[in-house]
């Protein structure tokens, strides 16, 4: 029996449930987001629509508030956990039905000398939500790792992440190597990370600078659209 304050997700209309899921995601309530995802699936929603309207959109709002200093890293990580709980249900459905044509592979990694990956992992999650197959190289990647991954996976986009002002210059080293090999002509490169800005991205000749995870996913989709 529900008390007066408890929201019964099953009782909500589709529109209200989606709004509630976005609120629950914002509050980092993984169990509730999981339940809401299950309910929408039972109601016949496609995995893509749940992903786009409830999860990705919810995380986009999180990204805006993080940028504006309303949410901080611990809360964002909680929100990401809630999003993952929903995506855990959707991923096998999306993989099995192949209902959303993949936008291609997105190779992403933190650069050499840097072991930070929180931002990279959030971007990876949003890229997956956007329709990319994410190839995550992990942390501390020298240029050889990126080259090997490009060779193996033929990605649509390459992404590099750094959290330190001392490591971000290495992005320029990688881009320069790609340019020397002629790869930069056909492979867009995105860069991101807390100490970066548009000026730095321009200086290292990156294709795009992703200021946060949601924006990075939108930019990546646009890049792929441009190339088709």
């Amino acid at each position: 029996m529900a008390n007066g304050d408890e929201i019964i997700l099953e009782d909500l209309s589709d529109d209200d449930l989606v709004e509630q899921m976005k609120d629950d995601l914002y509050d980092g309530m993984a169990d509730e987001v999981h339940e809401g995802t299950q309910i929408l699936l039972k109601r016949g929603w496609s995995a893509n629509d749940i992903l786009a309207n409830a999860l990705v959109e919810g995380m986009r709002i999180v990204g805006v508030d993080f940028r504006d200093g309303i949410l901080f890293v611990p809360e964002v990580l909680q929100c990401a956990g809630a999003m993952k709980s929903g995506m855990g249900l959707l991923r096998p459905i999306l993989a099995a039905t192949d209902s959303k044509a993949s936008l291609g592979k997105f190779v992403i990694g933190t650069v050499k000398g840097d072991i930070h990956d929180i931002g990279k992992n959030l971007v990876g999650m949003m890229l997956e939500g956007a329709g990319f197959e994410v190839i995550d190289l992990g942390i501390n990647n020298p240029v050889e790792n990126y080259l090997r991954a490009i060779d193996e996976h033929n990605p649509a986009v390459l992404g590099m992440s750094a959290l330190l002002t001392t490591t971000m210059p290495y992005m320029g080293v990688v881009i320069e190597e790609l340019d020397k090999r002629g790869i930069l002509k056909t492979l867009p490169v995105m860069v991101g990370g807390a100490p970066l800005n548009q000026e730095f991205a321009d200086a290292v000749n990156a294709t795009r600078y992703g200021r946060d995870a949601a924006v990075s996913a939108e930019l990546a989709r646009a890049l792929v659209g441009m190339n088709h």
């Binding site: 611990p74 992992n121 501390n140 002002t165």
Partner: protein, 201 residues
């Protein structure tokens, strides 16, 4: 108004060290005025340069010289733009770990173990508030892995020889699941920087 000699506009994390060194240099509070900004700004480095600029805009004219007690500290050059505008200097290097340890020692530590998490006297003293609570680990302890899975060592770069702080740093290492490394580095480049700032009259 007669100009005071020198303003040190420093991160709050350096307050004790600056005060101790000011005394060692034989300078009065009037010779070297110390104003601090909250150490918590390091959680949002983009705020450091604007906060420094706000103070310099108001007070630069009062002093002969200004030393800003920050390294680059994740501002990616934004702080240096402010310093150039207001004819101020800052501490060398990217952050306090490097100017306390000195570049050769700092680089040797990181070369030996990239996954080194650093504490200074200040952070050992305020670990609970700035690190544990600052990262939200008091509310979300399961995030420990998200933050620290790639770290191996907690390296305590000690400015002073303080058994209480050493014990706190060691306890912090245990809490984070890291190997404890204790290295006494003293004040590093800070004394020379302060002396140079105070010499400019």
């Amino acid at each position: 108004m007669t100009k005071k000699r020198c303003l040190v506009l420093a991160c709050g994390a350096l307050a004790r060290e600056v005060i101790a060194l000011r005394e060692q240099l034989g300078l009065s509070e009037a010779d070297m005025v110390l104003q601090c900004l909250p150490a918590i700004l390091h959680n949002r480095p983009a705020l450091i340069a604007p906060r420094v600029e706000a103070v310099l805009k108001e007070r630069r004219h009062e002093f002969e010289t200004v030393l800003v007690g920050y390294g680059d500290c994740g501002t990616a050059g934004a702080l240096d733009v402010v310093l150039a505008k207001y004819d101020a200097t800052r501490l060398p290097h990217q952050h306090c770990y490097e100017f306390f340890a000195g570049t050769p020692k700092f680089e040797a530590i990181v070369d030996a173990e990239l996954g080194s998490f650093f504490l200074t006297d200040f952070l050992a003293r305020h670990f609970e508030r700035l690190v544990w609570q600052g990262l939200g680990l008091d509310r979300f302890p399961h995030l420990l892995d998200a933050y620290f899975s790639h770290y191996k060592d907690l390296v305590y770069l000690a400015q002073t020889d303080n058994p209480d702080l050493t014990a706190r740093a060691e306890a912090a290492a245990k809490r984070l699941g890291l190997n404890f490394v204790h290295t006494h580095v003293g004040y590093g480049d800070l004394p020379a920087a302060l002396a140079k700032a105070a010499a400019h009259v």
